[in-house]
Symmetry: C2
Subunit: 555 residues, 2 copies
């Protein structure tokens, strides 16, 4: 399992992890069926549909929708000259891989009970058959899927309520396909809205008044926080699979456009920010920066909007390019394509908002983009499989300003100097986390806080995966370790501050069909648990987004 | 034939026409073979290779390499919902089309003797079979194909001769796969160099010292005019099929990079301008501006370098986008993608060098790009199938500065006002050419000349296709008509001025295996024929490029 953690491709680890609780538990670890003769594989239409779904949700992240391989090997019937032909491996061997995983990083889907015997059999056959064509998803399709539930003219012109909406939290209820809007002052649930499947993130509009959610199914929803009961005022679909959304934030363009990054097809789409009318698509296929190979499946990972320029920073996973998309004239879209490193995933701004740091997780590196100068600033070696989320900006007494990422693959935090001078773009401090293995998914701090919060959600150690570690940002010493109370089940994942920066919200992510999930709210000064949010409706809570902090990119 | 001229897709007309003399003449117009049962089509490996070659050289221009259609309809075994399935049409019907052409614009390949019965049979079967995959052609392949014949250090540091090399002409000897370098002062042939197949154009380096040729086979050659006997000092290959090349011309970047536009694969490639080392590839696939359909086959038509900015203007045929590629940092390539019109082909600068006018030949329009402001300036309706080449900048007494294009599909010249004021971006004058039909391929003038030269190379009238018409630029009156002397056979095509702007060179383009081609050199003042260049070596002369005029984009 250590090897798994060290080597497991993190391209989709977030999604993989977030899908853990959705699996079935009746798998047998060793399939005993008679092997199917080579060439005799077939699936009925119904089986094919089921197999495609399983592959898409379980395997595509690492092996690619077109099965050409990404962080995992290719899975092609006739091989690709590098990895063996799946037809030569045969069903039984492939089932063993799916059941047991591999030391190279493949999870043990069967043993973990995430796929059952029937599902494993289907997908083992599926990967020996020709790759189904990926249908196009174009502007016409998007226009058909687009819905305005409440026209702009019918929306409130000022808040319909007296709540402190800038301190609202949007909480992803992953397996319910919902987002809960919770009042951060009163801790009351103001609304639960229907969103896309397995929402990946929320982003705030430039004004903070709207939340945008993006589902793994490519569905975007626009949630209006000025309504007494926030609801989805418009919805659209950008692709079959997506991870990222952001809004235009530059002066004069506030809430004019949003951009959504697609995995399948690999493209980005610009929508009207207030109506979600689809306006423009740009494909992201290209040549990868390391091998110069053409990749049609060049998926869009994190996207962030600059506050200083009319730019979005668009990270292209497979090619390793960062695209700066200038939205000041979308009929003459200006795109700066910066060669960086593979495979780009997620990241955040340094404390000045000039530099964007993004993980190249296949290379164990962080890439620094100078967004003002529109160029590559630095590439920094960090630990195994960095997974920063947005990272955390802290200031230590010894090293000054630092931007911090944890790692999935090892138990360290890399603290990167961001002040000008000799410390800049160096790992000036590596903090070793308690216990063995890696498994960190998120770190979090706040400019008004002296604390850095660290989860271990992907640890293989049950105690660690239910723990949160709090460090002093000035001394970098561990000051407290929390464990989730026993009455709540599941892993502890993802932290978010309230608007004032004096409270930290943490998810305990239980199973879909159990009511033992919770949001734990800690006082950031006293480090005491001050509030617990629970309820039937709190289904598989994962990411949480404070409206004000998300609007201003405070982390 | 008029209909053919009116409607024939000009996407590849230049190449089509230039391939006329290479065809075989033993076709029978009516194939009598027994029809092949539907579904029973097959080709041997050798036949398949031959069919692919025929398709590529004859059909791909209009129907697309992937047979999805472009200016011509799609040719897919199962159809595309818009055009019929080729399998349903069957071999005999398809052969009739290829033999006789169609009123919609398809040439009568058989009747014209450009394809023989065997070739027609092969290609009729080929288009009913699945589309062969287009292999990738990446940086690694390009590095293998790259050759430096004479390293930069071994090249002359000043001209090795006393000739007036800025008045050299590079003359394309199309079917010989050669370029002749001719001294414009003495009319002596200085050198004949081996180039790619069917060179499409030459461009001059920023210094004028080098010629770059681009072959239809994607081969780029670098020819050094400072050598006593100019030779190919470096060569490279950018794709399987290409049409365009230009160099970096902006101050500080002179002769640093070249860009080559590929048809198949559809991409552009940046090379080191002095060594031809391949540096970077960018794919051009995208969504077309009219229907929003994703087109992987988005071929690169004309490319020109700005003299005022570090920009190349890259015209993407199928999507109808103009890309402005900023080469000031090729690791952070900045591309402005301007939505314009389908299908973009060729064009030239206005008299100020600020505006680039490019033909959208499927829409009978000219697109004007403001390259300073990096935006679409205007779209102008002109006649049927404009084919400007670089166009011609002239100044009339009545209308001031105008940029002129002719048309393949009709016998008019569209004179577009380019001065600020009410005439700007309007067809202020349409000149009707003598005789019936269109068939104009090129127009040419020079700032020091009062004449505008016009060919009719694609006319179906033998007299017209061997004629050149000269207009007075101030009065727009026809002042002289030349016909090629009888001793020279073939069509008359393409004009080029000498450096001084007082001489015009015209090609008489005979057949490959005959020695009756000629370059006719006219005095631009007296309009008298002053010199004739002939010889065994003068095989199928087409385009001619004066070093000085090409370097400075004088037309």
């Amino acid at each position: 399992m250590v090897k798994f953690l060290n080597l497991f491709a993190s391209a989709l680890i977030f999604s993989f992890f977030f899908s853990c609780s959705g699996g079935e538990n009746n798998a047998s670890s060793d399939a005993k069926k008679v092997n199917i003769a080579k060439g005799a594989i077939s699936l009925s239409d119904a089986e094919m549909e089921e197999a495609k779904d399983i592959y898409f949700n379980t395997c595509a992240g690492c092996h690619g929708t077109t099965r050409k391989g990404a962080t995992g090997p290719s899975l092609l019937p006739d091989g690709d000259g590098k990895w063996p032909a799946t037809k030569d491996l045969g069903t039984e061997a492939i089932k063993v891989f799916i059941n047991n995983g591999t030391p190279g990083g493949m999870p043990d889907w069967g043993k973990q009970g995430l796929l059952n015997e029937h599902q494993i059999d289907l997908v083992a056959k599926f990967v020996q058959l020709p790759v189904p064509a990926i249908p196009d998803y174009n502007l016409e399709d998007m226009k058909k899927a687009w819905k305005i539930n409440i026209p702009v003219a019918d929306r409130p012109t000022k808040p319909d309520h007296d709540r402190n909406w800038q301190n609202y939290f949007g909480v992803i209820l992953r397996d319910a396909g919902q987002v809960a809007i919770i009042d951060g002052d009163t801790k009351e649930t103001v609304s639960i809205v229907e969103t896309g499947f397995a929402v990946h993130i929320l982003r705030s509009s430039a004004t903070g008044r709207y939340f945008y959610s993006i589902g793994r199914d490519g569905k975007v929803t626009l949630i209006d926080l000025w309504m007494e009961k926030p609801t989805v005022v418009a919805e659209a679909k950008a692709s079959f699979d997506a991870r990222s959304v952001d809004v235009s934030k530059y002066k004069g363009y506030e809430d004019k456009y949003i951009i959504v990054g697609g995995y399948t097809p690999a493209h980005f789409v610009i929508f009207d920010a207030l109506t979600l009318e689809p306006l423009k698509i740009v494909r992201t296929g290209g040549y990868d920066v390391n091998n110069g190979e053409y990749l049609d499946e060049a998926r869009v990972a994190a996207i962030v909007a600059s506050h200083k320029d009319p730019l979005w920073v668009v990270n292209i996973k497979e090619t390793g390019q960062v695209w700066l998309v200038d939205y000041s004239n979308i009929e003459s879209l200006k795109i700066t394509t910066i060669d960086a490193e593979q495979f780009l995933h997620d990241g955040g701004w340094d404390h000045t908002g000039r530099y964007f740091l993004v993980a190249a997780n296949a290379k164990n590196r962080m890439v620094v983009i100078d967004v003002d100068e529109q160029k590559l600033e630095s590439i920094i070696d960090v630990g195994t499989k960095p997974h920063p989320g947005r990272g955390a900006n802290i200031k230590s007494k010894t090293y000054g300003h630092m931007w911090v990422t944890g790692h999935i693959g090892e138990g360290t935090l890399a603290c990167i100097g961001t002040d000008p001078g000799p410390n800049r773009w160096k790992v000036v401090k590596s903090i070793t986390l308690p216990g063995s293995g890696g498994g960190n998914l998120f770190v979090k701090s706040h400019p008004k806080s002296k604390h850095l919060w660290v989860d271990r959600a992907l640890s293989n150690d049950i105690k660690l995966q239910r723990s949160v570690f709090v460090y002093d940002t000035e001394t970098l010493e561990l000051v407290k370790t929390f464990e989730a109370p026993d009455k709540y089940t599941g892993r502890v994942v993802h932290m978010e501050y309230n608007k004032a920066g004096d409270e930290v919200w943490v998810s305990v992510w239980g199973k879909k069909d159990e009511t033992t999930s919770a949001l734990l709210i800690y006082d950031d000064k006293t480090l005491e648990l001050k509030h617990e949010i629970t309820g039937d409706w709190l289904v598989t809570p994962t990411g949480k987004f404070n409206a004000y902090n998300t609007m201003h990119d405070i982390y």
